[in-house]
Amino acid sequence: MKRTLPLIITFVIGIIMVGEFFIPHWRYRALTGELLEWGIILSAGAFILGLINLIQVHVPTVVKRGEDWGYKVVLLGSLAVTLVVGFRDGTARLDPGMEVTFSYKWIFDFLYIPLSATMFALLAFYIASAGFRAFRARNAEATLLLLAAALVMFASVPLGEGMPIIGEYLVVFKDWILDVPNNAARRAIFIGAALGAISTGLRVILGLERSHLGGD
């Protein structure tokens, strides 16, 4: 029963949710909408479990003065401060005319956004280092990749576009690379992935795939 019941629930809910794509009737949509709301509520509840997990992972290290425990204090302290301020301010951070004081909005705008942007900005350096490795002409395929990438990059900047005589041909060739071989490959990946997704979904719905339940 412990194994059968989840399989039955998966099958029934799976079929209902697949049906949502094919049945436009509002009563059916209301039913699937209700089910999705249950899902959202469950997801919201899981945030509390996530918070508990964090405390379980980090507090023992702080208590035992484990490695890097100081950073965990910063983490837990910042978490506590943000939570307290968030409970105090509620949704006030959404008010565009509010006075900028130490508030949830202040934390969001002046701490969180810059830190997040900093992390994102690191991507530029990572792209450069990964690109350097990927574009090394070690074999024929890598050389082709290097040439294609160099051409696309060159034709995408004003220097390349503005080249006398060959500039306009470069742009046409760049567009062809993007629109024809690149697009064809992407579509092939999408079609294969879509079929794989259908197959995986059906495996789960039909109960053939049970590894998430611990196998047979």
Binding site: I40, S43, A46, A130, I189, G196, L202, E209
Partner: protein, 360 residues
């Protein structure tokens, strides 16, 4: 260095606290930032990375294999909730026209339904054949073989294996596939007596991962080796999660990093950190925009549909392998349809491609 770590810890903490409210969790995937830069509207727009393909390549929006139909894209699972939710809201407010039709008149829906039914039918047929003892062939996939090698390497080095199931919600088919793979991976890790760390961006995914890993250890016969504190919820915000996971890589030095699921801009930041850490890295995603980053930074990359075959490949269960065979047959049908459609449309006959029309 310490200042940087403190900054990362701060970012992580604020991401934890602000994430759920700053980014509505139900719509989080659609708001993640992509390295390609065009993902803000929806994950389905990922493809735009290669330039303005949608305009230049013709009718991408309606074409097969494009954003709207791609596996793992929102329409497959993730965004359905949004659309359904919207419908419900609109239905409640009375602003939308309530459809009284039980079946959509567009022929594409019927075609798609037939395709799904055919896949299911073939799957059951081949499963029955497999149960009768017929051998099912599956081609060798080095990327998947490398998972077991990577676990062996981690065992020998006495270091953990880091598993990242993407940053999307549980409704996404790629996350579901990742959870299925995690079941097999955790079983192998338990058998090798290695250590596993699962880094999760979504709390509900962590809870499911917890159950899946627990079941894997139990099935392998080592239930006591399961440590729930190693299934970690990091942060629900994209870059806070990325910072936290990078921290795990740098502090705990995993020997093997496995990234399987749906990724956005954080893919390269994670993979490059793992590369600098000299870990063996195996990645797999159906996100076309992130594949080049994984290919550049990882040792092995599972491309598109390979992600959905991993579970069957690792388990070697004939029933699951048979489902791949069914999928391959349908692929032949789709490719044949593409060729027939191209020829007929080029000759001026539109009736065939009209069979795939999906107008609401």
């Amino acid at each position: 260095m310490n200042a940087l770590r403190t900054l990362l810890a701060l970012l992580l903490a604020f991401g934890l606290s602000l994430g759920p409210t700053s980014v509505a969790f139900a719509q989080a995937p659609a708001q993640q930032t992509s390295a390609a830069g065009n993902d803000d509207d929806s994950a389905g727009d990922d493809d735009d990375s290669a330039g303005d393909d949608d305009d230049s390549a013709g009718d991408d929006d309606d074409s097969a294999g494009d954003d709207d139909d791609s596996a793992g894209d929102d329409d497959s699972a993730g965004d359905d909730d949004d659309s359904a939710g919207d419908d419900q809201t609109e239905a409640d407010s009375g602003t939308a026209v309530k459809s009284e039709e039980w079946f959509s008149p567009s022929p594409g829906y019927l075609t798609l339904l037939l395709l799904i039914l055919a896949t299911g039918g073939l799957m059951l047929y081949f499963t029955k054949q497999a149960q009768q003892g017929k051998e099912m062939f599956i081609r060798r996939m080095p990327g998947i073989d490398a998972i077991e090698d990577g676990i062996g390497r981690a065992t020998e080095m006495g270091k953990p294996v880091l598993y990242v199931p993407g940053i999307d919600d549980l409704q996404d088919i790629q996350t579901i596939a990742s959870m299925l793979i995690l079941g097999q991976v955790s079983k192998t890790i338990a058998e090798y007596q290695a250590e596993l760390i699962v880094s999760c961006c979504v709390p509900i995914v962590r809870e499911v991962a917890d159950e899946v890993v627990r079941a894997g250890f139990y099935q392998a016969g080592y239930p006591d080796a399961f440590r729930p504190e190693e299934i970690r919820f990091i942060a629900s915000d994209q870059f806070a999660f990325c910072a936290g996971t990078n921290g795990i890589m740098l502090r705990e030095q995993p020997a093997t990093n496995i990234y399987l699921g749906r990724f956005f801009a954080e893919s390269l930041i994670l993979a490059e950190t793992g590369y600098l850490n000299r870990s063996i890295q195996i990645a797999g995603t159906a996100e076309a925009t992130q594949l080049p980053f994984f290919v550049a930074a990882c040792d092995y990359t599972l491309i598109g549909e390979e992600l959905f075959a991993v579970s069957a490949y690792l388990s070697r269960d004939p029933r699951l392998v048979s489902s791949l065979k069914a999928s391959d047959y349908i692929k032949v049908v789709v490719v044949a349809s593409l060729l027939i459609g191209t020829v007929l449309t080029s000759c001026g006959f539109d009736f065939f491609i009209n069979l795939f029309e999906l107008t609401k």
